[in-house]
Amino acid sequence: MLVADEELMAQCRQGDMSAFELIVRRYQDRMVNYITRVINDHHRAEDLAQEAFLRVLGSVQRYRPKGQFKNWLYLIATNLCRNELRNRNRQSTDLFSQLGLESSDSPGDQQSPVFEDLLSDSRYLPDQLYEQKEREQAIRQQVDLLPENQRLSLVLVTYQELSYQEVSQIIGCSVSAVKSLIHRARQKLKRKLIEIGIEESSNAKIQVR
C-alpha cells in the first residue's frame, strides 16, 4: 500500500529519516529530470535536486499540508532553477563583456547560424542514431532559448505531466496566464523547429473532411 507523501512528511517531522529516504526515492528521478530539462545540465541538476531535498528536510517543521506535497517540492525546485538561470545569465553577460562581444537581445540570433549549418550539412549526420542525438540536442537548445516562465511551464506540462492548475501554483500566476505561456512557447518552438528543418510527421495524422 502506498503511503501518502503528507504522512511520510509527518513521520519525517518526528525525526524518522527512513521516511525522508522514501520521499527521496519516490521523487529523485522526477526532480533530476525536471531540473535537467530546465537548466540543461545533468550534473548541476543533481546538485540542485539534492539542495531541494535538503531544503525540504530543513523546513520540515514549518511544513503544513495545505496543498499537495508534490507541488511544494516542485516549487522549491523551480525557485532553485530560477536562481541558477539568473546566475548563469549574469555570468555569461560578464563573459561577453570581457571578450568585448556585442550582446544581442535574443541569444538565438548568435547560436542559430552555427546550428543551421550543422543540421543542414549532411556530412555531420552520417546515420540515424547521430541524427536522433542531434535532434534532441537541437530541441534542448531551442527550449533553452525560451523565456524563463515559458520554459518552466512547458517543461512542467510536457515532461512532468502536471495540470495547468498545478503549474499555476508552482509558477505563481493564473491558469489563463499558464495557458498563454504554454501556447506562446509552443508557437516559438514550432517556428524554430521548422526553421532548422526538423520534421516529424509520424505521429501527426489528421483527418480533414
Binding site: 535538503l54 528536510l57 512547458l154 510536457t158 515532461y159 495547468y164 516529424e200
Partner: protein, 230 residues
C-alpha cells in the same frame, strides 16, 4: 435575445480566431468538456486550423521523444549523507530542555559560559541550532512574557528615580501624593498638566532675586537631560 454560454461554442459559431489560441489547451486536454467538443468539431471542418493543430502535435511529440533523465546511483547515498549531517531540529517541549541547551552534541566545546556558546556557534555555523528551543510554542510565550516583565520593571525603576530632581509647584498635589512612586504614577497618567521648577536655579548665588523660571514639560523623562544641563 441573449445567447447562453453553450450557444457560443457550437461549430458554426466558432471562428478560427477563437480556436487558434485554444489549440495548445486542446492538445493538453485542459479545456472544459463543451469547448473540447466545439474545437474538435471546428478542426474537422477547417483545414487551416487542422494544419496548425498538426504542427502543434509535432512539436509536442518531438519534445516528448527526448530521453528521460534519471538520478545517478550515487544520488541517494550522497544525499542521505548530507541529510544525516543536517539532522532536522525539533522544538523541545517546555521544561524538558534538559541538556539540549546548552547543546550536548559530541562536537560541542567543553568550555563554559559565553565562550562555550560563541565557540559552538562559530563551529556549527548555525545560531538556530543553539536557540532552537525557542521555536517551541510554549517556550516562545515564556520568552515573550519574561521580556515584557523585564521591560516593565525597567520602566518602573526609571520613573521611581525621576521625581527626586524636580519639585512640584502645587503643594496640594505634593501633600496628597507624598511618595515618589505615587508621583511618578500620577505623572504617567497626566504628564502635560505638571509644572516643574529646576532646583538648581533656586540656589543660584549670582542673582538671588531672579524669579523662579517655570517650565511646562510634556513628560519628565524626555527633558531630564535638558534640565540637568541647565
Amino acid at each position: 435575445m441573449q445567447k447562453s454560454k453553450s450557444d457560443r461554442f457550437t461549430p458554426t459559431q466558432m471562428f478560427c480566431k477563437e480556436v487558434k489560441p485554444q489549440l495548445s489547451s486542446y492538445l493538453d486536454q485542459e479545456l472544459p468538456k463543451l469547448e473540447m467538443g466545439a474545437v474538435g468539431c471546428h478542426l474537422r471542418n477547417c483545414s487551416d486550423c487542422a494544419f496548425e493543430m498538426m504542427q502543434m502535435r509535432q512539436v509536442h511529440s518531438v519534445l516528448q521523444r527526448a530521453q528521460p533523465v534519471s538520478a545517478s546511483s550515487t544520488f541517494l547515498p550522497r544525499l542521505m549523507q548530507k541529510a544525516t549531517a543536517l539532522e532536522p531540529h525539533r522544538p523541545i517541549p517546555l521544561f524538558q530542555r534538559g541538556n539540549h541547551f546548552p547543546p550536548t552534541r559530541s562536537d560541542s566545546p567543553t568550555k563554559s559560559g559565553v565562550g562555550r556558546m560563541s565557540k559552538y556557534i562559530r563551529k556549527n555555523q548555525s545560531i538556530s541550532r543553539c536557540f532552537g528551543w525557542v521555536e517551541g510554542k510554549a517556550n516562545r510565550l515564556l520568552v515573550v512574557g519574561l521580556s515584557i516583565i523585564f521591560a516593565a520593571v525597567l520602566l518602573m525603576v526609571r520613573f521611581y528615580d525621576q521625581p527626586t530632581s524636580m519639585t512640584p509647584v502645587f503643594a496640594s498635589r505634593v501633600q496628597s501624593q507624598p511618595s515618589d512612586l505615587g508621583l511618578a504614577l500620577s505623572v504617567i497618567t497626566s504628564p502635560a498638566t505638571y509644572v516643574y521648577i529646576n532646583p538648581r536655579q533656586m540656589s543660584t548665588v549670582d542673582s538671588p532675586i531672579q524669579p523662579i523660571q517655570k517650565q511646562i514639560l510634556p513628560h519628565p523623562m524626555l527633558f531630564r537631560s535638558k534640565l540637568s544641563d541647565q
